[in-house]
């Protein structure tokens, strides 16, 4: 974990509401593990003071990038920043994905819209290539398919309106796949909470291990404020754990969805 002022190298629109931001961060970049995130202080935000968390998307030498969707004041202000502008980052943060061991399970990745960002490094660093299931509301929500294919992964696309790939929810082809073969597979997922809950259910139904990257509103990002907690099972009880510190990636079996309500 390092706090640094870093320079924006690129900040371009990817598609529709999605942008790709590349930062020169020579001290941070080498430390980043798949599934970790960066906490950005977006300048020019005036009365909105808090940092915003974003999964690290790609890492190359002295730079790292994030893939973000403009959903509100912070991400919109971020989209207006230009190459040459500086940002304060705290990164890398959180406990990321377990990178598969050589000869271990075949990874099945499940992503909803910008959830793809959190999974890219995992796909790149996994010795086994597997399948990426990516879903979105419409074709504009389907990101970086070609980049995952370039890594040698099989990418299966679903959209809720049928405008690209298979028609329906991302969990449909996933269920078909684990029904065909569950043994020797492991799920890794990042996306909206209802999608994660569905992936968790599929994992337990088919007895497949799964790691989920949870998207909880954050405040400090480093474990002090206790804003970002989710209920985690401990034996026959449960306790709140911090998404920013013990997470964002959790073993699906430990999440107490019933408590979350």
């Amino acid at each position: 974990m390092i706090q640094n002022t870093v320079r924006i190298l690129r900040n371009d629109r990817e598609a529709d509401l999605y942008y790709r931001l590349t930062l020169r961060a020579p001290r941070v970049a080498p430390l980043i593990q798949p599934g970790q995130f960066a906490h950005l202080r977006i300048g020019f935000l005036g009365e909105a003071l808090l940092r915003r968390p974003f999964s690290v998307f790609q890492v190359a030498d002295e730079t790292f990038s994030i893939l973000y969707k403009t959903v509100g004041k912070g991400t919109e202000a971020l989209a207006r920043m230009r190459p040459g502008d500086d940002l304060s980052v705290i990164a890398p943060l959180g406990h990321g994905f377990t990178v598969p061991q050589p000869g271990g399970e075949t990874p099945l990745l499940v992503a909803g819209s910008y959830g793809m960002a959190a999974l890219y490094l995992l796909a790149q660093r996994s010795p086994q290539k597997g399948v990426v299931f990516v879903g979105g509301r419409r074709s504009a929500d389907i990101l970086c398919v070609e980049e995952f294919r370039a890594l040698g992964w099989d990418v299966r696309v679903t959209t809720e309106d049928g405008s690209r790939g298979e028609h329906g929810l991302v969990t449909r082809p996933l269920i078909d796949e684990v029904r065909r073969q569950a043994g020797g597979r492991k799920l890794f997922a990042c996306g909206p909470t209802p999608m994660l809950e569905a992936v968790g259910r599929i994992a337990s139904e088919f007895g497949v291990p799964a790691e989920l990257s949870m998207d909880e509103p954050m405040c400090c990002g480093v474990g002090v404020c206790l804003a970002c907690v989710i209920p985690i099972r401990k034996g026959d009880r449960w306790e709140y754990q911090r998404t920013c510190t013990e997470g964002p990636v959790f073993d699906a079996r430990t999440i107490a969805w019933d408590v979350r309500g």
């Binding site: 202080r41 480093v222 002090v224 709140y240």
Partner: protein, 306 residues
């Protein structure tokens, strides 16, 4: 130049501390800044037993501030001593342990436990948490109860005792006096303000708890006034807090009557804030030829028009 100040028999190397609940147990920020430069470090509120805390969402960002209703999640006295005390005890910076209870006896028991621990810098009695039904807030809004709880803790420990007053009162002076008379060594002013925000699309409160405590720069002018009012009423030192994000903010609190200050919410967005305040305070003193930081305390000039 001398930046040191006294809180009871505790000497702080400088008047800049970090506020309870905004700095965890110190260890979380150890990799981002040199904790030993702080005047003191206040840890998240602790009661006797572990506390699970409130459901989520627990925070909501608002204009120039935030709401929180964490519900005083914590490991309890034993969990704290086991997990966090070894690290804190190894620091040069004094630890202020923020404590609470649901009864006078529980406050006193927690105070006794930390008295017996040895090496604690000071105890801060939170009688003002707005976020749980029995978060001690009833002690903070009834001067007699306040007197009782402070007096009971005074009996239970010889550690420097700080009372963190509730801002949720019409006039803070009687509360400040009650705490002083009951034997506490200093006051912390202020805790967050009871507040609420609503998501108009869902018509639901933005916090699962319904209401929460407002903190951050938006409360600063109100907090300054509370410090000013309390400073006129008591002789014991005041630790001023509420929205501090720069040395200028800290100096304002000191001029209103605070002997020391605490950085709270600002830690979340700029973990270096407390160190920046220490540096900026030194610069201000140099610029104004001030030798003793104590000279700033209560130095606001109030000119009466005739």
């Amino acid at each position: 130049m001398n930046l040191s100040v006294q809180i009871g028999r505790l000497t702080l190397r400088n008047p800049v501390t970090v506020a309870s609940g905004t700095f965890g147990y110190g260890v979380e920020y150890a990799r981002l800044l040199d904790l030993n430069r702080l005047g003191a470090l206040a840890v998240k509120g602790i009661r006797l037993d572990p506390v699970r805390g409130n459901p989520t969402p627990r925070t909501a960002e608002v204009a120039s501030g935030m709401l929180n209703a964490i519900g005083l999640q914590g490991p309890g006295v034993d969990g704290f001593i086991e997990r966090y005390w070894p690290f804190l005890a190894g620091l040069e910076v004094p630890t202020i342990i923020n404590i609470w209870g649901t009864t006078v006896e529980e406050y006193a028991e927690v105070a006794r436990r930390f008295d017996a621990l040895g090496g604690v810098g000071a105890l801060e009695l939170n009688v003002s948490c707005p976020n749980i039904k029995e978060g001690g807030a009833q002690f903070g809004t009834d001067p007699r109860l306040l007197h009782q709880v402070v007096a009971a803790c005074r009996k239970a420990t010889s550690l420097p005792l700080i009372t963190k007053l509730s801002p949720n009162v019409v006039n803070i002076a009687p509360y400040a006096k009650a705490a002083e008379e009951a034997g506490c060594d200093a006051l912390s002013i202020t805790n967050s303000f009871p507040a609420m925000a609503i998501d108009i699309e869902t018509r639901r409160p933005r916090l699962a708890n319904g209401t929460g405590g407002l903190s951050g720069p938006c409360i600063k002018p109100i907090a300054i006034k509370l410090v000013w009012d309390a400073a006129k009423a008591v002789r014991i030192p005041i630790i001023g807090m509420g929205g501090i994000q720069s040395a200028a903010d800290a100096i304002e609190f000191m001029m209103a009557g605070a002997t020391a200050v605490a950085v709270g919410t600002a830690n979340f967005y700029e973990p270096q804030t407390a160190l920046q305040v220490i540096d900026g305070l030194g610069d201000f003193m140099r610029r104004h030829g001030i030798e003793e930081v104590r000279e700033i305390v209560g130095s606001v000039r109030i000119e009466k028009r005739s």
